[in-house]
Amino acid sequence: MTAIAQAGSPSRSLADRSPVGRSYRRFLGRSSILMFALVVISAYLLPLLYMVTTAFQQPGQSTMPGAPVWPAAPQTAEYQGQSYPVYSVPMPDGTTRQLILVEPGRESSVFIDPTDASRTRIEWQGRWRTLEGAWTFAPLVDNFTTAWNQLNFPRLLRNTALIALLSTIGAVASSILVAYGFARFRFRGKNALFVILIATIILPFQVTLLPQYVLFTWIGWNGTWLPLIIPHCFANAYNVFLLRQYFLSIPRELDEAAMIDGAGPFRVLRSVIVPQSVAAITAVALFHFFFAWNDFFVPLLYLASKPELQPLSIAIQQYNALYATQPTLIQASALMTMAVPIIVFLLAQRAFMRGVVVTGVEK
């Protein structure tokens, strides 16, 4: 869907067309580089195809001898009201035919061609056990329903979404206030405070982790969502940095015009700054939402023993520990877990990717 929206870029360059030979050569160059990019990216994303394929396979298909890569089941066919297996049979004339095995024998067996209306019996010399079974495309949805029920997926989705949403609201609102303070007001120690803010990016979270855990345990927040939400309501360096850069680019004349009309600082923030920064605020909100959606370490600390409050990340890790021997179930659970973030990303990818560049390069 987004591909269509962005397909405009190549047509621009087609416009500066020059002599035919040159443009043909250029076309060749263009298509070979596109092919190369596509091959590299396909290889890069190949594990995703593995996941989708496996998630739709019958349990154990990957270890069955002769099974294809795609989701498949041994092919069977009806003959006289009964179901018989289908095999790939090499014929004396060198061809291979898909035949129904109706009478298996030790040294010779009887087959029937499923496309043959007259049902002529074909006597085949050789051991049928050496034949390769024929497979039919059979995507299985059971893996998803099983994982859905075993994981209690609706509850996980609700928990994850609520945690992510609440902490995003806190993080975005507080970051807007703080970024506004740094962008628009002169006060003593502002530069030093801003340096401290940026320095907290490099500070490993481990050095604050243990006392925070003790504190939250003592005030009874262990085993609740509060440690996952409340600490984010005090702004964080990445968000403040991105928003401040953006606020600085808004002309001060707009603030001043509003102030002449009698607007106070809050009013200016609400009616000038925020409406002008929707793009940056969206980027920050999306970043935080997905950080919270994907977070593993903090929920592991506080919710490991509370299945009814757990988000997706913790639950599927524990699920994997239980069902590691069943790749079909694991891959189905992984696919279900990534569905929401991937869909939202594909819908909002431009906002994301612009936000990354603003935070990263401006340093």
């Binding site: 994303l45 002169r186 006060f187 593993f296 991937i342 990354v356």
Partner: protein, 318 residues
């Protein structure tokens, strides 16, 4: 009584105590807006940092906080003699030495490819490379565990069909780091985008001038692109370095926190988690956290010292 009346009396202009100088008022508003972060800084960063320093010189544990004793530098001395710490430092460095160059190289390679002037559909292609970052780490790790499986995974099936060796990616001490580095490729999206922005900031006149002097693409890349992009590369390197030393979720998911095979994935953060939250040795875990902090800080400072000589800032001294 009289004094009070005099103070409140009409000798003072009405409302004077509320009329602050504009600069003071501005500063007060500034502090008010920055306030939430300042409170958070004290409550969740500065306070806990201090507390964790104190904790690291005690034998604090959450089950019996009343029995806490001051133990001096015992925890730090134990760091030096604990074989697990040595092992995990070695594991972390081994992994970092492999994963950091691979991540840097791949993110630069993808950036160059996806910024190629003759490449069509740049936007969608960049989005595809960025995409795996959006996948929850646990889920992407589960996908890679399956993909790298020796029996049923695809990578070894492909390697086998090409006649290449099929390593036991996840269960061998030698191959686990390449496996984790491969998995790490799914995290390059941000670095790639930042590199693309860096590539786009190189003035095209420089390339034209170099072409006039007969410089080929490789020379242009090495002599113009890399030096001009060095600030961006340094930024990426610092962020990747910090991330590598905080590595946890993937290793935890892969081995269910055990650090298999043979403690090869018992990275520092995993040791910290085990000591602090599984064994409840919180004082010792605090010392591990500070060790981790010092290691990252020293490495970052080394990088910056190196960068002082090698990184080029177009805007002059910074």
């Amino acid at each position: 009584m009289t004094a009070t009346i005099e103070e409140l009396g009409p000798t003072k202009p009405p409302g004077r105590t509320l009329t602050l100088r504009p600069s003071v008022r501005e500063a007060l508003w500034g502090y008010a807006f920055v306030g939430p972060w300042l409170i958070g800084l004290v409550l969740f960063t500065a306070g806990p940092m201090l507390a964790s320093l104190v904790m690291s010189v005690t034998d604090f544990n959450l089950v019996k906080p009343e029995a806490t004793k001051f133990v001096g530098l015992d925890n730090y001395a134990r760091l030096a003699s604990d074989p697990t710490i040595g092992q995990s430092l070695v594991a972390t460095f081994k992994f970092a030495l492999l994963a950091i160059p691979i991540t840097m190289g791949a993110s630069l390679g993808f950036a160059v490819l996806l910024n190629h002037p003759r490449l069509a559909f740049k936007g969608p292609l960049r989005a595809l490379v960025y995409l795996p970052i959006m996948i929850p780490l646990v889920a992407s790790t589960l996908v890679w565990i399956g993909f790298l499986n020796t029996e049923t995974g695809w990578l070894n099936a492909i390697l086998g069909s090409l006649g290449l060796p099929q390593p036991d990616w996840i269960n061998s001490e030698a191959w686990i780091y390449p496996a984790l580095s491969l998995m790490g490729l799914w995290g390059i999206g941000n670095f790639m985008l930042i590199n693309i922005a860096g590539l786009q900031s190189v003035p095209t006149e420089l390339y034209e001038a170099a072409r006039m002097d007969g410089a080929g693409p490789w020379t242009q890349f090495r002599r113009i692109t890399i030096p001009l992009m060095s600030p961006v590369l340094l930024y990426n390197l610092v962020i990747i370095l910090i991330g590598t030393f905080q590595y946890f979720t993937q290793a935890y998911t892969m081995t269910n926190g055990r650090g298999d095979p043979n403690n090869a994935t018992l990275f520092m953060n995993l040791v910290l988690y085990r000591e602090g939250f599984v064994f409840n040795h919180m004082g010792y875990a605090a010392a591990i956290a500070w060790l981790l902090f010092v290691v990252v800080l020293v490495l970052t400072l080394i990088l910056f010292a190196f960068a002082r000589r090698r990184v080029y800032y177009a805007g002059g001294e910074r």
